[in-house]
Amino acid sequence: MSDLPLLSALDMARFVARGFLRFDGVVPDEINRQFMAEVGDAPEPGRHMLATYGALMAKAAIPEAAPGAPLSTIYPQEGAVARLLDLPVVRGAIESLVGPDPVFDHHFLHVTFPPAYYEATGGENVSQHTHQDSTVDPTPGFDLQIMYYPHAVTREMGGTRFVPGTHLRKVSEAALGRYQNIRGQQHMVCEPGTLLFLHSGIWHGGGVNRSDRTRTMFKIRMNPSASQARRFDLSTLAEPARRPIFYMKSPQPETVEQILMTPEPWFEHDTGRLEFINRIQLWRHLVADPGYDADHWMSRLENPARQSL
């Protein structure tokens, strides 16, 4: 058993149901300031946006790194990112979600520039289309993406937009760009040192920056190197709650099942039920229990009596 502060069963259920976990202000200011110093100041407005971005990346003290190496080998030991990844709360959450010794996939410095940069060059200051990262992904597990916000983000600065609960949909990257707005979408407004842990399938995009300063976010994607099952704090995992369904006289207590069966505002009437089933399937995968069920959705379908002659 790890001595790290692993995620509880309820937090794991929240991640399975909604595809994200927020850790507000968990990175100390000293690391936040170090990270911003390592990134350096953005060039003054006036150059083409690609050139501006290129100049910023070239001078930032963030290493170029090929995918496939152990995450623990990527960042200089005294650098801000290594120090961030070494925080117990971060190590515990990573281990809970992707297991020990994750593999580095890629990272990126997302910098969103204020209107002055676009006005200087005639470019258009717009938000990023909503998308799912990488490719369509039919596998039962997931990668973890950590979004690090080293400075305060206001609503005016745009922030990362994401749609809770979309992570289990098998879509192909920018194919969903047509969906400008979806009920329940969230915009990251946060204090410095906030981390957003995302399931790799969640629908998201960068918001438009209408403030007078650049917005900086650093993303790290990591892959599991071993099974993701039963990595969280198993001492918090209770027996599945057998609850009344549909006909209920009072609110239900918060359990794994209650969390997994909570819909999102954008759920369609019929496919919302399939979302519940897909959450159950992911929970089965993460607790290594192929017989797990919540609210009878799978038991109804898997009833052996239906198959008998």
Partner: protein, 91 residues
């Protein structure tokens, strides 16, 4: 000069009077520039409310059967309705 404005509504089921869960606006007049994440409240409660406000429906998604073995696979939003308004711009 006439220009087209397009409203795309994603509804909670195949009925045009079901709730709006997602939406997009593309403005061919150039008077507004809508973009991802620019509005958190739907412009209409249902598709029918858009009709009442003068939008003309010109396309609705089909209701398709589920392929065997893929019954639980979810991908794109299912109930997509395209509306238009033709606007006289005078330009």
């Amino acid at each position: 000069m006439r220009r087209q404005k397009v409203l795309v509504l994603y509804l909670a089921n195949s009925a045009l009077d079901s709730p709006v869960i997602g939406w997009a606006v593309y403005d061919g007049t150039g008077q507004t520039r809508r973009m991802s994440g620019d509005e958190d409240t739907p412009p209409y409660r249902t598709g029918v409310d858009a009709l009442k406000d003068g939008w003309r429906l010109f396309q609705a998604s089909q209701i398709l059967p589920h392929a065997r073995g893929e019954e639980f696979d979810l991908a794109y939003l299912k109930y997509e309705f395209f509306f238009e308004q033709i606007v006289e711009t005078g330009a």
